[in-house]
Structures are given as structure tokens and as C-alpha cells.
């Protein structure tokens, strides 16, 4: 009997063709966003480094700044917390406690981002602007990022600000960074722990010296993917950042991000040039998130490969 029939060949080509949709989608993203932004693409780098946004001139420097700063806040606060969560889930908690807490952290990732925005707007923002921001400004106001520029009302009066957006992003990246870091820690071979314990290390010392260093590239991958998530997050940020085109040093000031710019202004874009500029903002978002996401995935892949190699020793 023949090993392969015509049906076999057809089915194989069918699956290849359908799987190629994934690859094709990828190409389409770049092609369409490039061609869609052709009207403003010719302006070159002025798009990125200029702060003017009128009907004819488009510069996204304030939004790029906002995206970077909010993501940086999310990473600065979120990564230590996430690594702590990962350590607790992989090294300390056992049995039911581990699965229950792991489940809760996973649920954090399942909450839709517009619900984060809603909660952030009505619960988190009033909380921060009445209790946290005045306190921080009073005691740390000498640091420029926590200062309040002179104005009639305190700058944190409305609550919506770069800092508020950064804090909601912190909450939103924790489940991602924690889950990937936890997987990285769980992939560390037990011999690493045993070696440290054999030297008389406590749990803390074993994890800090022996486990974390082994899982380092996995945790770095988690940071990359957390950044990609924060940088591209739209709904929660557009509801909490205040949508004001300003480059301010103070984090209590409203700001803008690339993603919230697109969400907020697309329906109002009047001219083809304005639409083109917004598509170009999407292109910047695509390139940055592609690069970070790609690097993060590559690191995870390499990390898993070295782990497989290690398991043969």
C-alpha cells in the first residue's frame, strides 16, 4: 500500500496554508501600517522628536515620553513585587496554598483592561489623590518627579496623572511578570537548591545565591514581556492619564501615551494627514512591542533549551 495518498498531500497543504495565516498576519501588520502612514512617514524622525501636534505638523514626543515613563513606573514597582510573588509561589508555598494563590494571580491577568480603567477611575484615583499623593508631595516633593509645579489647585487634585496610569499598569503587568518568573524558577534544577543547602544556606540565601542567578535570563525575559504589555496598554491608561500633551517632569501631572493618543483621537481625526499620523503612532507602537516581545520570547526559548540541556547532566 502507498504510504501517502492524494488526500494526505492535500490535507498537509491545507494545514500549511492555514498555519501560514499566522505568518501572513504578521507581514500584513507591517505592510499595512507602513503604507497607511505614508503621508506622514516622509517627515522622518521629526515625528518622534517633535512636540508640536497641529493639523499639519505631527510630533509624538510627548506621547512617546508618556509611554516610556508609565512603563518605567510599572516596571520599577511591578518587577520587585512580581519576583517576590514568583519566589513565594515556587519556593515557599506548597500544595493548596500554592494553587489557590497561583489561581488568584492568574485571575488578575484575566480581568479586562477596561474594567481596570473603570476601577482605577472611581476607586483607585480618589484614593491616591486624597491619601497618597499629598503625603508623597509633602515629604518627597524636593525630588522633581514628586514635585508639584505652582498652580492654583494642587497638581494631583484631579488624580488622573502619569503616576496613576503607571500604578494601574503596575497592577496589570504583575500577573505576566510573576507567571513567567515563576516558570523560570520552577525550571531551576533541584541540584541548584541542594548544593546551597549542603553549604548550610538558609532558604533566603539559597534562593538569592543559587536559584535566582540560575533563572536570571527567564526573569529578564519576563521583564521584557511586562514592558511590552505596559507600553501597548490602551484602555486603562486612556481613562487614567488625563490625555494632555505635555512633557512634564512631575509624575503627578497629566500626560499622554501613544496608545491612548490613538484611542482618544482616531474618531476625531479630520484630515487624511491626521489619520496617517495616528497610523504612524500605531506603527511606532508595533515596532517597539514587536522588538521587546520578540526578545522576551527568544530569551524564554533559550532559557528552556539550556534547562533541557542541563537535565541531561
Amino acid at each position: 500500500m502507498k504510504r501517502t495518498s492524494r488526500a494526505d498531500v492535500l490535507f498537509r497543504y491545507l494545514t500549511i496554508a492555514v498555519a501560514s495565516v499566522v505568518v501572513g498576519l504578521f507581514a500584513i501588520y507591517f505592510l499595512e501600517l507602513f503604507s497607511g502612514s505614508s503621508l506622514t512617514l516622509s517627515e522622518g524622525l521629526a515625528f518622534i522628536f517633535s512636540s508640536t501636534w497641529t493639523d499639519v505638523v505631527f510630533g509624538v514626543y510627548p506621547m512617546l515620553w508618556g509611554s516610556l515613563v508609565t512603563s518605567a513606573i510599572a516596571l520599577c514597582i511591578g518587577v520587585p513585587i512580581s519576583v517576590g510573588v514568583a519566589i513565594f509561589l515556587s519556593e515557599i508555598a506548597r500544595g493548596k496554598l500554592r494553587s489557590a494563590l497561583g489561581f488568584l494571580v492568574e485571575m488578575l491577568a484575566a480581568v479586562p483592561s477596561v474594567v481596570y480603567g473603570l476601577w482605577g477611575l472611581f476607586i483607585l484615583t480618589p484614593l491616591l489623590s486624597t491619601y497618597v499623593y499629598p503625603f508623597v508631595e509633602q515629604y518627597l516633593g524636593f525630588i522633581p518627579i514628586f514635585s508639584c509645579p505652582d498652580s492654583f489647585v494642587p497638581c494631583y487634585f484631579y488624580g488622573v496623572s502619569i503616576m496613576t496610569a503607571g500604578i494601574i499598569l503596575t497592577i496589570m503587568i504583575i500577573p505576566i511578570v510573576a507567571a513567567i518568573s515563576r516558570d523560570a524558577l520552577l525550571a531551576v534544577p533541584n541540584s541548584q537548591r541542594e548544593a546551597a543547602y549542603a553549604l548550610g544556606a538558609t532558604k533566603a540565601e539559597a534562593v538569592n545565591m543559587s536559584v535566582l542567578s540560575y533563572a536570571r535570563s527567564g526573569v529578564i525575559a519576563a521583564v521584557f514581556l511586562g514592558f511590552a504589555r505596559a507600553f501597548g496598554e490602551t484602555m486603562a491608561v486612556v481613562m487614567l492619564i488625563g490625555n494632555e500633551r505635555a512633557v512634564s517632569v512631575s509624575l503627578f501631572h497629566p500626560g499622554y501615551t501613544l496608545a491612548s493618543l490613538i484611542a482618544n483621537e482616531f474618531s476625531e481625526a479630520s484630515s487624511p494627514a491626521a489619520v496617517s499620523a495616528l497610523i504612524e503612532a500605531g506603527l511606532v507602537l508595533l515596532i517597539v512591542s514587536f522588538l521587546t516581545s520578540f526578545t522576551g520570547r527568544l530569551l524564554i526559548r533559550r532559557f528552556l533549551k539550556t534547562r533541557e540541556a542541563a537535565s541531561y547532566i
Binding site: L33, I81, M107, I171, F266, I279
Partner: protein, 282 residues
């Protein structure tokens, strides 16, 4: 062991536990607020009526988000019809035929694709569909959400298929069953896991807002054809939450409650099902 090291160790464990508490408290607060404020706006009108005019007085025209519930169901059904079949067949390729560099790059690109910000998907669909069709439409919304489902379903169903033991493939092969039928057999064998993966993808897509801003748009009316804009729960949450009117804000909480019930309900349900019956352990 010196006391200092002992104390440091215990403090360190307490600190990691504290980070877990910090991470979980927002979740509990979100759930509590959404349930508490959302249930207050639950009544028959919420499911059957169109959105009311804005009002901040004590008595307002009653209204609901019936059209948004209908719209979300239509959009999710449409995106599932696009994303799930393509995703599953692509998953079959990765698992059964993709033991080569193309297979692993499809998988890798799928992971990266799933990480692209959803607003960028909105921009793509705007350029590709909304501009040529001259307006927001159900079709555009379904394609936007469907294209987001493809990489998710593809990679998770590939994962599910790979857990089917090789012995089944070998047995099928030994019986002279052709490769394409064997692949379908394997898919049928992993149907629970594939269904789970598809359900999780649906849960994920139901909560998406950003792509809909630029594809499906928003409508004050009921569904009126595939070429018209359509309402959705998520868009209405955004629209009503950022409005200054009390009755609209209340409806936003109600919509968030429905959304959380659907999304977390699917996630928890899947968790419980997969726990009671392990699909394959080895």
C-alpha cells in the same frame, strides 16, 4: 546558625508573602467593587432596554444596555467563527506536521503576534477594512477580534495536541490509517483540551475594547446589519465611565459586572473542569 541569618530568613519569607498580598489585594478590591456597584444596576431593563439619555437627577428615564449585550454576543460569535477553525487547523499543523523550522517559527511568531498591543490590531483593521468600507461595521469588529484569536487558539491547541501520547499516533499508523485521518483522530482525542483552549480565547476576546474603538465603533441602537456599527459592553463601559452623568456611570458598573461574570466564570469553570479530569498526565 547565627540569629541574624535566622531572622533575615524569616523576614525575607514574610516579605515575599507581603508581595503576594500586594498583588492580590487589587483583584479582591476590583471584584468587590464591581459586584457591589454592578448588582445595584441589575434589573430586567438592563438586559432588554436601549441606553437611556444622560441624566444626573434623582429620577431618570429607565434604560439598559440590551443592545450592548446583543452586540458583544454577535461580535464574539463572529470572531469565534473566524478565529477558532483557523486556529485549530494551524495548531494541527504545528503539532502534527510542524516538527521543522517552519513549524517552530509559526509557533514563535504566534507568541509574538499575541503580544502585539490590541490597539494596533484596531489600527490595522481600520486601514484594511474600515477605510475601504467607508465606516465602522460589525464585519470589521469581528475580523479584528477574530484575528486576535488566531494566534492564541493556534498555540494553545498545538499544546493540547502535543499532550496526546505518541503511542496513539503509532497505533493508528500501524493499523494503516492514513496520516490525515490520524491527525483528525488525534484532534478528536484532544477535543476537551482544544475546547478549553477555545473557551479561554473567547473569554479573553470578550473583554477586548481597544480594537473595537477602531473597527466596530459604537451604536445607540440594536443590531441592524453587518455593515453597520454595533454596540458592545466594553465600549459602553469606556464611554459611560468617562461621562459625567450618574445614570450612565451606574450602567458602566453594571456592564463591568456582566463582563466579569462572563470572563472570570469561563476561567474558573475551565479551572474546575481540568482539575477534576486530568487530560493526559504523561
Amino acid at each position: 546558625m547565627k540569629l541574624r541569618r535566622f531572622v533575615f530568613d524569616k523576614l525575607w519569607i514574610a516579605a515575599t508573602f507581603a508581595t503576594v498580598v500586594i498583588a492580590v489585594v487589587p483583584l479582591l478590591s476590583i471584584l468587590a467593587d464591581v459586584v457591589y456597584q454592578g448588582i445595584a444596576s441589575m434589573n430586567i431593563d438592563f438586559f432588554t432596554q436601549l441606553p437611556p439619555p444622560p441624566c444626573s437627577a434623582a429620577t431618570c428615564t429607565p434604560g439598559g444596555l440590551g443592545n450592548a449585550i446583543q452586540g458583544t454576543i454577535i461580535l464574539v460569535a463572529l470572531s469565534g467563527a473566524i478565529g477558532i477553525p483557523i486556529g485549530i487547523i494551524s495548531g494541527i499543523y504545528i503539532s502534527e506536521y510542524g516538527n521543522n523550522s517552519y513549524g517552530s517559527s509559526v509557533r514563535f511568531l504566534g507568541d509574538v503576534l499575541a503580544g502585539i498591543p490590541s490597539i494596533v490590531t484596531g489600527v490595522l483593521v481600520y486601514v484594511l477594512i474600515v477605510i475601504p468600507l467607508r465606516g465602522y461595521s460589525v464585519t470589521a469588529g469581528g475580523i479584528a477580534l477574530g484575528s486576535m484569536m488566531i494566534p492564541i487558539v493556534s498555540n494553545t491547541s498545538a499544546e493540547a495536541l502535543k499532550t496526546v501520547p505518541n503511542s496513539i499516533r503509532e497505533a493508528s499508523h500501524a493499523l494503516g490509517i492514513r496520516k490525515w485521518r490520524t491527525s483528525l483522530l488525534i484532534a478528536a482525542h484532544a477535543k476537551r483540551a482544544i475546547a478549553t483552549a477555545s473557551l479561554l480565547a473567547i473569554a479573553r476576546i470578550t473583554g477586548e475594547t481597544a480594537p473595537l474603538l477602531l473597527s466596530a465603533g459604537i451604536s445607540q441602537l440594536w443590531f441592524s446589519g453587518l455593515d453597520h456599527p454595533i454596540a458592545s459592553l466594553t465600549f459602553y463601559i469606556y464611554y459611560f465611565a468617562t461621562s459625567p452623568y450618574a445614570n450612565w456611570k451606574a450602567l458602566a458598573w453594571g456592564a463591568a459586572f456582566i463582563l466579569i461574570v462572563i470572563v472570570l466564570g469561563i476561567n474558573m469553570g475551565v479551572r474546575i473542569i481540568t482539575r477534576t479530569k486530568e487530560v493526559y498526565s504523561s
